[in-house]
Symmetry: C3
Subunit: 252 residues, 3 copies
């Protein structure tokens, strides 16, 4: 599900779950393991990448709709756990957004240190509201950290998907580039950061990113309850069911 | 004092207190009632608008100078109450800034979900300091929510009035348009937001706007004491008296 | 070490410690005294300036490396004290950045009310990480106040030095100008602010800048411990020693 490619001290974790790198419990677990192993093997940084045109389509809604409530809750525990892992990772991470990155795709990117997005007809953003799900409180907070409180409200409440130029303008990504330069530039950004004195860099990084971690530690449980209640509500079930049916994959 | 115009699910509350829609206790009460009734009648959103060239000139200083200290304190309680009502309203609001919107005009806009400003020789901003009044703490906080802490300090401390282009650049408004398109565009923005799954939208909106409400709940009383002390001080009385005299209306 | 030049109600404190206005215990003490005296003599505002091409090269590393641990800790107590003095000063301050302003030069500017930077081949930014020192927590917080949390992380973790145009774009400075207009424009900005009703301006200013002061009151001691531990660590000692040797001045 993940291709592991080492570029000297930078490890690339390339999502490889066709057709759209949808996030299901297995991929979420693989990502958490991949991050853990990168740190354990002494890597200096991690680049999360996808395939040309597809970073991640977000959560695998059809599969999630087959889960029991208990399994679904566990999925959210693990997905929040993955976000917190990225936020608190002792080494820098970069999101190499090689294509479409709506919802869960953008979520992963929010917690990395740097986001670079492929130019072209690709979209990203927290469009959860469009599919009938409120944006969890930890994500509202993290989005505010990245783009400021007011833009976070505008983007999250409207469930807006942005094109790369808009995302750059509002600060949701740090850079855009032709799709085939996204990974090389992400690797170069990470490699450059690793030229800094490591303890000073790591110490400053921990302080500057603390609000992202604090959001989980103070809001995680509440966010989990909120998202579970919203998911089970008729509004979300209707919207999600329609999406799953359209995708032609619902197994319920 | 307010014209109520329904556009399908969006209710427009058009300020209609000539000549400049100055905010006095009666207009403040009418606005609070108008918001309450919009929610009670099941409307989906509210647009606050003015007349071409005049959104609101802010507080009605000549009238306020005729109030006793007790009446004045009650006015501030109600004005803060109006701000909090907008901040906490369960349905979205839009500020259709159809012209000049200094001080109190900008204050109302700060707490809405979206601000669109008429292009042209119109001004907006928190110019309280220019008339001898400190900006209350809840407003400093709300301005920081909208434009960030540093710009909030620059704008509030200097009491700066901005033209529409500057306001757009700094994020004090979200869009500008020719004056006769301000209300239509505000209505369209609200109508578009109402196409979202309503519970997901409302839930996300509540989370994203919580800091605006929290400011009142944690600072309201302190802000009230601060503004009352400042208003009664010789500096403010001199400045306000001169303004009222210039407006040719002081009844003191 | 400091030239004191009065321009009506605005006092200019011009750093004059050749060759690069490096901050040592004596200059830090002189700055604190200069600020205290400006307030005591009833001045309305202070402009901190340097010489053409050189605002300040930051801390005097060669001299600091000759200090005992006790002396060094006292230096940091005093340097944090200077920052807090600027943050909490009852009158506005302006940073007239007349040239290079890395590290400590930028630090001083962060706590002023307005920053104007000389155009040209000059650099500013918190490059502490580049010399092996983590950015203290109070500075991460202050940088976030000025440029937002996400840009603060990017700039501080990378230890980035910016040219004037980049600094303006990201909001690290408020304006840029030809070097010989930096001081006149800083003086004009301060003089303009002093045309406001003084109590309203001062009261608003205190509220809007409170987060800068709060950072010291809540984090000061922790920041001090962090920076001392980092300074004494082998990584920083090696980097700092190399710099001092390169500057050809180490007295150790």
């Amino acid at each position: 599900m993940i291709d592991v490619i080492d570029h000297d001290r930078v490890r690339e974790l390339r999502l490889a779950r066709p057709p759209v790198n949808a996030l299901n419990p297995a991929l979420i677990a693989a990502l958490r393991a991949g991050l853990r192993e990168a740190v354990a093997s002494g890597k200096g940084a991690v680049v999360l990448s996808g395939l040309p045109g597809k970073f991640s389509g977000g959560l695998d809604l059809p599969e999630l709709l087959t889960l029991s409530e208990t399994q679904l809750r566990q999925m959210w525990v693990d997905f929040f756990g993955l976000m917190r892992d990225i936020a608190a990772l002792p080494i820098p991470t970069v999101a190499a957004l090689t294509g479409h990155s709506p919802a869960g795709g953008t979520v992963l990117a929010l917690f990395t240190d740097y986001r670079i997005m492929a130019e072209g007809a690709y979209k990203l953003g927290l469009n959860e509201v469009q599919v009938g799900l409120p944006v969890p409180e930890v994500l509202v907070r993290a989005l505010g950290y990245v783009v400021g409180a007011r833009q976070a409200a505008r983007l999250a409440v409207g469930g807006l998907l942005l094109d790369p130029g808009e995302a750059l303008k509002v600060g949701l990504v740090d850079a855009t580039s032709p799709v085939d330069e996204v990974v090389p530039r992400a690797l170069a950004w990470a490699a450059d950061l690793l030229t800094r004195p490591p303890q000073a860099m790591a110490g400053t990084r921990r302080l500057a990113r603390q609000p992202l971690v604090d959001a989980f530690d103070s809001l995680g449980e509440r966010s989990l309850d909120q998202i579970m209640a919203a998911w089970m509500a008729p509004e979300a079930q209707a919207t999600l069911g329609a999406i799953a049916a359209r995708l032609g994959k619902s197994k319920r």
